[in-house]
């Protein structure tokens, strides 16, 4: 190859390098963060008795490495390029440095994470323990099991991938059965209703769609009206009584984020708001120290944080979190326009973001706690203080994992 061509190639290579280097150096927080970490960070984050020379070096190294990694591809150019290449080459398994985050393209094109095998029995025992506690207090208890994206009836998984989401869940529910804990298995409920399982889910995210949560709320409220003295208001469960605003191609979910917009495409997301009159008090106590988020008004004005809807950059935020604003530690919702006097303590995970607003339409007061983030005391103390009519616990099968054990600290 002649040298002129090689010189052009070298120039292009250094243009690419320079763009990446400028990418992180121009990021305003980079130098500040690295500077702070090198000068004060180690002392500020590591207790004095745990400090060591090797630890200090490791801290500096990881700070610099992660700072560069986090900022060198701010525009997600390389992630999109990588995803495009994977798609063109027909890759059905996109590996990640963290194998839990390997993205699987199911045979139907949906993207998923697989769930590892997990001993769910201790979790079931803890749920049963909480049920016993509520029973002592004269409070009803219901566990709701959401489905997982990978369907137990038709997994569409590649032959080399094992997923234990449904097996773990079966084990949990079987144990709950032994303990005679009341539960709803929404996997079965949706299947029995002939639902197209994968249509219940986003293509690029592991969460269910708002429409699915809406339907799930109908199933849960039917059970609550049958066995727990709640009123079933049919109008609340007919989709024609709602405005459905669809934001097209703005959602790149958790799996999509790891493989870029060209690998699995973008999802639509619906904002579902009632056409009937509503009046809510919505509060996130201590969102930041000394600051509560408080909103008063209609369902549309209180249940959504529209700042999460970003139509420009699908990597920037998750529009899924527009529903109630995301995974708050504690969320208090009072329905001022209902005849119901029921109070619910809702123990939730991220599936509940889109479920909570519809549930709130059907009770007087709803306190939603996410145990991954809540640090205000034990759940039993909260029950004692709040005295709900019902403790409703709803988890998705992904909760059954080592890293989520805090979600089962129910004593």
């Amino acid at each position: 190859m002649n040298t002129k061509v090689q010189k052009i190639t070298a120039l292009l290579m250094f243009v690419v390098i320079a763009l990446g280097s400028i990418g992180f150096l121009s990021y305003s927080g980079f130098l500040k963060h690295v500077g702070w970490s090198l000068l004060k960070g180690y002392e500020a984050t590591v207790p004095e008795d745990e400090r060591s020379y090797a630890g200090r070096i490791e801290y500096y190294k990881s700070t610099i490495t992660s700072s560069i990694s986090d900022t060198v591809d701010k525009n997600h150019f390389y992630i999109n390029v990588n995803g495009l290449m994977q798609r063109l080459l027909g890759a059905n398994l996109v590996y990640d440095a963290d194998s839990d985050s390997n993205v699987i393209k199911l045979d139907n094109g949906w993207l998923a994470f697989s769930i590892a095998e997990f001993d769910a029995l201790p979790c079931a025992d803890r749920i049963a323990g909480l049920r016993d506690y509520t029973e002592e207090k004269g409070i009803d208890f219901l566990y709701v099991q959401t489905p997982y994206k990978i369907c137990s009836y038709e997994s569409f998984l590649p032959p080399v991938v094992d997923d234990y989401s449904n097996a773990n869940t079966d084990e949990l529910l079987s144990r709950l059965n032994e303990h005679e804990v009341e539960y709803i298995d929404l996997r079965q409920e949706f299947h029995d209703r002939g639902a197209d399982h994968y249509a219940l889910y986003f293509r690029t995210d592991h969460h269910w769609k708002p429409e699915t949560a809406f339907a799930a709320c109908d199933i849960v409220m039917q059970r609550l009206s049958e066995n727990y003295g709640f009123q079933y208001i049919e109008d609340h469960h007919r989709i024609e009584n709602y405005n459905v605003e669809v934001y097209e191609n703005i959602f790149l979910g958790s799996q999509g984020n790891r493989v870029g917009r060209f690998y699995g495409g973008l999802d639509n997301i619906s904002i579902i708001t009632p056409r009937f009159d509503t009046d809510f008090y919505f509060c996130v106590p201590e969102y930041t120290p000394g600051f509560d988020i408080v909103r008063n008004g209609s369902f549309a004005d209180t249940m959504f944080d529209y700042t999460h809807i970003n139509t420009e950059d699908p990597f920037a935020d998750s529009p899924y979190a527009a529903y109630i604003g995301g995974n708050y530690a504690l969320n208090i919702i009072v329905n001022n326009n209902t005849e119901s006097d029921k109070k619910i303590l809702f123990i939730r995970d991220s599936y509940s973001c889109v479920f909570t607003p519809f549930l709130a339409l059907n009770c007087k007061e709803l306190h939603a706690i996410d145990l991954r983030n809540y640090s205000g005391g034990t759940i039993r103390e909260y029950i004692d203080e709040f005295s709900p009519d019902l403790v409703l616990m709803m988890y998705n099968p992904g909760a059954l994992a080592e890293e989520n054990l805090s979600m089962f600290e129910l004593d």
């Binding site: 002649n2 010189k7 190639t9 290579m13 250094f14 390098i17 990446g20 390029v81």
Partner: protein, 465 residues
């Protein structure tokens, strides 16, 4: 630090190039000091504590070379110093690389209960130890002048492009370049192109095929097709991993005006095992040839028995160099047997085109031995490759990995043979090539970086050697 990392590509490399060609531009000493400090930083980034071991090795060999340079004329005295130098270096090498293996084997063979020490292997020790030995011996043989300045020895042994995965640069190759190299824009540009090619081999081919290889070797059962898929994937992985690293090292060297010798020459097109080893890891083969095989007597004017003994020594040591495990020793001895047979009978010359099949078959089987955790694992795997383990011929897992890796396997075959050389010679001077070459290499660079940023699987096989 890894070449295939964001820190190296977007921070370390541009910073060093910028300083080298701006602040240090007018002084060779300043440039050498910069490269030495950068190299120590590069090594310390991965293993801070092992820098001290490397510095100790460098200092000891710096002193040995000064010593040997003074007393070279006294042959017996000089040979004693060489013996002492080898004893010191090989003792350090043994402690860090083979002591645990040795103690474990003594315990299991003799039923002893000697405490197995907990010793971590310093990255790249096999490479920098061999370069250190090369320095002293080449000074003794007057193939390079002794360095009065310790910094220059540090630069030779610790120079970051070849520090942790080779090639093993002989002192005689770059002794003169330490002071008298000439940087040029042509070399710099050629170095950049070579670096991109190496990065692409490593990130796109080696890392991707590693996934299929790892899955096959980790499987409890594998069909015949899956076993062969895994064995071939590993054969390509190790070639593109190591030759990619060598390409990057050669390219980086050129960016700073250093010219290292080639380390690979399309080994998978060989027609005999002897030819394979003239094309594979050339710097290691020539190191053993010049520092072990020839001093033992080589193959000329020796008896057949002596020849066999010399070959045994070289191939036993070659196997052992690759790792402290029986699999590596048996792998080395397999090559001893094959090469001895070739030398004594010359049968490989009569095989014609079938020589390719014979060579590749044993090379692939050798890689199975090399990759396996134990001899029994390798035996089980090989039995599976030939359907002797009661396994099926084909299964869905094999289909999946073949389908997922079809493009990479085809690319691996094409780049294992001199396709690129053919295209370059045939079309290299056309206008189309002048346009397509920069675009193709820039795309290759962007794709490689995308794999790095994606945080894809990034194992470096040759770090442990």
């Amino acid at each position: 630090m890894l070449f295939a990392s964001e820190v190296f590509i977007f921070a370390f490399l541009p910073a060093i190039i910028l300083l080298y060609y701006t602040l240090c531009r007018r002084s060779r000493t300043a440039q050498n000091v910069l490269l030495t400090i950068a190299s120590l930083f590069f090594y310390a980034w991965g293993e801070p504590k092992f820098v001290l071991i490397m510095l100790a090795v460098i200092t000891a060999n710096y002193l040995f070379a000064l010593w040997i340079d003074r007393i070279r004329e006294n042959r017996r005295y000089a040979q004693t110093v060489i013996g002492l130098m080898l004893a010191v270096n090989l003792t350090v090498f043994f402690i860090f690389k083979y002591l645990v293996f040795t103690v474990s084997n003594i315990n299991s063979i003799f039923g002893a209960d000697i405490g197995v020490p907990d010793i971590a292997l310093p990255i790249g020790i096999s490479f920098f130890m061999f370069q250190a030995i090369s320095y002293v011996i080449d000074v003794y043989r007057q193939k390079g002048c002794v360095q009065k300045n310790l910094l220059n020895v540090m630069l030779y042994i610790s120079f970051f492009p070849q520090l942790i995965a080779g090639p093993i640069v002989r002192y005689e190759t770059i002794a003169d370049q330490i002071h008298n190299r000439k940087e040029s824009l042509e070399d710099f540009a050629d170095g950049c192109c070579r670096f991109i090619v190496g990065l692409g081999k490593k990130t796109l081919l080696a890392n991707t095929l590693a996934l299929a290889a790892d899955a096959a070797f980790a499987a409890e059962e594998r069909s015949v097709v899956f076993a062969w898929t895994g064995a071939l994937a590993y054969s390509f992985q190790i070639y593109f991993d190591f030759s990619g690293y060598s390409d990057m090292a050669l390219g980086l060297g050129k960016m700073f005006g250093f010219h290292f010798l080639e380390n690979f020459d399309y080994p998978y097109i060989s027609r005999s095992i002897s030819e394979f080893w003239r094309r594979w890891h050339i710097s290691l083969g020539s190191w053993f040839r010049d520092y072990v095989y020839f001093p033992l007597g080589g193959s000329r004017n020796v008896t057949k028995g002596r020849l066999v003994l010399n070959l045994f020594a070289v191939w036993f040591l070659t196997g052992l160099w690759h790792g402290a495990n029986w699999t590596f020793i048996v792998w080395g001895l397999m090559y001893f047997a094959l090469i001895t047979l070739e030398k004594l009978t010359g049968f490989s010359k009569k095989l014609g085109a079938f020589g390719h099949v014979y060579t590749l078959l044993f090379v692939v089987l050798g890689w199975v031995l090399f990759r396996a955790d134990s001899i029994s694992h390798a035996a089980g795997y090989m039995a599976g490759m030939f359907g002797l383990a009661g396994n099926r011929f084909f299964d869905a897992t094999a289909g999946f990995y073949l389908n997922e890796n079809a493009f990479y396997l085809i690319a691996a075959v094409l780049f294992s043979i001199p396709t690129a050389r053919f295209v370059r010679e045939k079309f290299g001077n056309t206008k189309a090539a002048a346009v397509l070459y920069p675009i193709a290499l820039t795309l290759l660079f962007i794709l490689s970086v995308s794999f790095i940023i994606k945080g894809s699987y990034n194992p470096f096989i040759y770090f442990n050697f």
